[in-house]
Amino acid sequence: MENTSSDIRQLNEKIHQASAFVDLLNMELGKVIVGQRYMVERLLIGLLAQGHVLLEGVPGLAKTLSIKSLSSAINAKFSRIQFTPDLLPADVVGTMIYNQQKNEFVVRKGPIFANFILADEINRAPAKVQSALLEAMQERQITIGDNTFKLDDPFLVLATQNPIEQEGTYTLPEAQVDRFMLKVVIGYPTKEEERHIIRQNLNPEAATPIRAVIQPADIMDARKLVREVYMDEKIEKYIIDIVFATRNPEEYKLQKLKPLISYGGSPRASINLALAAKAYAFMKRRGYVIPEDVRNICFDVMRHRVGLTYEAEAENVTSENILSEILNAVEVP
C-alpha cells in the first residue's frame, strides 16, 4: 500500500517520539566512552538495522568498552570471544558434554549465546571457526548435536580486525565479509579526547557505572519502526545507481574506474544500504530517508563490498577512493 502524505507525517511524529532513546543511549555511553561517537553511532545503526559490524582499527580504541557499555545500557547479555589460531568451532557455538551422573550427553552452550558478541581479532582464527560464527550471524540459530537453538534477540556481532598485523592471519573471504552490514574504520581520538581519556583512567573511582536506559524489547520495537521509515523511489534509484556504478562504472562516465574494480557491490549491498539509511534516518529522528542518509552511511556499507584489482592495489587506490569518485559522479535526486 502506498504511503500518503498524512501517513508519512504521522510516521514522522511517531518516529520522532520513539527515537528519543537514541539520545538517552548516547548520553549514557558518553559517560564512559570518550569520543568515538562515530563508532557508537555505527553500532546503533547495526543494532537498529539488524546488521553486524566489522570494525577495523588498532588495539586500544575502546572497541570492547563500547560494545560492553552498549549492552549494559540496553540491559542485554554480552560476551567476548578472543579469536586465536587454536580456537575451535565448538569453543564458539558450544558442544555436547557427557554427564556421568545422568549418563547422558548434555548441551553446553558457547559464548555466542548472548545479545552482543565481541569477536575480537576475527581474522586470527582459521576459516572453520570464522564460518561457524558467520553462519550463526546469518541464520541466527545454532545447531549442537540434534538440537537447534534460536539465538536471543537482539543479536549483534561486532567483529574486529587489526589492520597492521597481517602475519599469521586468515583473511576473511569476500563472501563472508559481505555478511557484515557495516565495515567501520576507526581512528585515534583527538588531543582533547585523549586528555579526557587519561584523566578518566587515572581516577577510576569517579567513573559513573552505566545504567540500563532501555530494554531489549524497546530495541525490537525500534527495529520494526526502522523498517517502516519511508523511502521514496527517488532514493531507491539513488541507491541502485551507487551500487550499479560499482559494477559498471563506465555507464556513469567513470571509465577510469573500470580497471580498478574487480567486482562491485552485490544485491546484499543495495539491501543493506537501504536498511542502514533507514536506521540512520531513524536515529536522526526522521520518518523518511533523504540523500544525506544514504551518503552518510555509504562508505561503511560499501567499502568491503568493492573488490580492488591488482592494478588498484599497485597504485594505492583504496575502495574509499573509488566510492568517493562514484558519489561525486552519481546525480543526487
Binding site: N3, S5, I8, Y230
Partner: protein, 330 residues
C-alpha cells in the same frame, strides 16, 4: 655408251631397292643407349648420363608393351648417383624416344667403367614376350686436382663481397618512392583543399539567462496547480543546481542539500543568499522525499526565493567597448 649408262642406273636402282627394306627394318628395331656428356671429370665433379630408348611407334602403341628403365642404386662401385630426372617421352616421326638423365659423380680417382644398364622390354614381339637390352659400358676418367708443389701454399681467401647491384634494392627504392609520392600528394591535397567555413556562432545563452528561461517555463507549466508537487520541486531545485554548476563551478547536481550549503561558502555572493537557499531546499527535500504537501503560498514563496537568488547572483554585464575608427589622414 648410252646402253651402259642405262644398265648402270638400273643396277643402282636395283641395289637401292634391295637396301630399302633393310633401312626400314633398321628403323623399326628397339634400341637402348647410355651416353655421358663427358668422359673426363675432376674428382667430385658431376657428369650427366643420358639413358635413351628408341621404340617404334607401332610397338609402343601395342597395349601389352612395357619398357622398364634400369633401376640404378644410389651407390655403384666408384660412382654415386646424385640425381635422377623423370622419364621423358618424345615423338620423332614413327619413333617414340624415352629418355632419363642421371647425374653421377665419383670421389675415387682413376678410370672407372660405368656398368651396362639393363632395360626390360615386355610385349614387343607378342603378348608374352620378354626381352632384355643392355646399354654399352661407359668409361669415365676421374682425375685428381693437380697441385703445383713448386709454389708456396696460400691462405684461404676471405669472404668476397658481392658486387653492388641496384636491382638488389629495387623493392626498398620502390617503397621509398611510393611513400614520398603519398606524402607529396597529401601535402598538395591539404594545401589545395577548400578551407572549411567557420561555423556560424549562435549567440550564447548565459547560465543566468538559461535559468531565468527555465524558471519562466516551469511557472508556465503550472505543475503544482495540477498536483504534481514532487515534479515541481525536482525541477525547481534542478534549475538552481544546474545554474550553480555552470555559473560558479560547483558540482551541485552531485551534492546533497547539506553538502551544497557547505560548498557555497567560498562563493560570497551566493553565500549571502544561504538562508533563502536553505529554506528552499528544506521544503523541496520534504516535498521530494517525504511527500510533504506545501501550501500554495509556500510554492509561490519557493519560486520567489529561487528568482531572488538568481537576481542577487546575476553576473554583471561587461560593457561593450566600441571599436575605434581610424581617423582620416592618420
Amino acid at each position: 655408251m648410252y646402253k651402259q649408262q642405262v644398265i648402270r642406273r638400273i643396277l643402282l636402282s636395283f641395289f637401292i631397292g634391295l637396301l630399302f627394306p633393310f633401312g626400314l627394318l633398321a628403323q623399326q628395331t628397339l634400341e637402348v643407349t647410355a651416353k655421358a656428356d663427358t668422359s673426363n671429370i675432376r674428382i667430385g665433379e658431376q657428369v650427366k648420363l643420358h639413358l635413351r630408348a628408341t621404340v617404334p611407334a607401332a610397338v609402343f602403341n601395342k597395349p601389352e608393351f612395357r619398357l622398364l628403365f634400369p633401376t640404378v642404386p644410389d651407390s655403384l662401385e666408384h660412382f654415386e648417383v646424385v640425381n635422377r630426372s623423370n622419364l621423358d617421352t618424345l615423338t620423332q616421326q614413327d619413333l617414340k624416344v624415352l629418355q632419363q638423365t642421371l647425374t653421377v659423380t665419383s670421389f675415387d680417382s682413376g678410370r672407372w667403367e660405368f656398368p651396362p644398364l639393363k632395360f626390360e622390354v615386355y610385349g614387343a614381339n607378342g603378348a608374352n614376350s620378354i626381352d632384355t637390352l643392355f646399354s654399352q659400358p661407359l668409361g669415365i676418367d676421374v682425375n685428381t686436382v693437380a697441385v703445383d708443389t713448386t709454389k708456396a701454399f696460400k691462405p684461404i681467401k676471405t669472404v668476397q663481397a658481392v658486387p653492388w647491384n641496384i636491382w638488389d634494392y629495387w623493392l626498398y627504392i620502390a617503397i621509398g618512392a611510393a611513400v614520398v609520392l603519398i606524402v607529396l600528394g597529401l601535402l598538395l591535397y591539404f594545401r589545395k583543399r577548400p578551407e572549411k567555413k567557420p561555423a556560424v556562432k549562435l549567440p550564447l545563452v548565459t547560465p543566468y539567462e538559461l535559468a531565468v528561461q527555465q524558471l519562466k517555463s516551469l511557472k508556465g507549466e503550472q505543475l503544482w496547480q495540477q498536483g504534481d508537487i514532487k515534479q515541481y520541486y525536482t525541477r525547481l531545485t534542478d534549475i538552481l543546481r544546474t545554474y550553480f554548476e555552470h555559473q560558479f563551478g560547483i558540482a551541485a547536481l552531485e551534492q546533497t542539500s547539506e553538502e551544497l550549503l557547505n560548498n557555497i561558502k567560498p562563493v560570497t555572493k551566493l553565500n549571502q543568499q544561504r538562508d533563502k537557499l536553505r529554506a528552499l531546499l528544506a521544503i523541496a527535500d520534504l516535498a521530494k522525499f517525504a511527500k510533504l504537501q506545501p501550501t500554495a503560498d509556500e510554492h509561490e514563496d519557493c519560486m520567489h526565493k529561487a528568482e531572488e537568488i538568481l537576481e542577487w547572483t546575476r553576473p554583471k554585464e561587461e560593457p561593450v567597448v566600441p571599436e575605434e575608427k581610424p581617423q582620416k589622414g592618420a
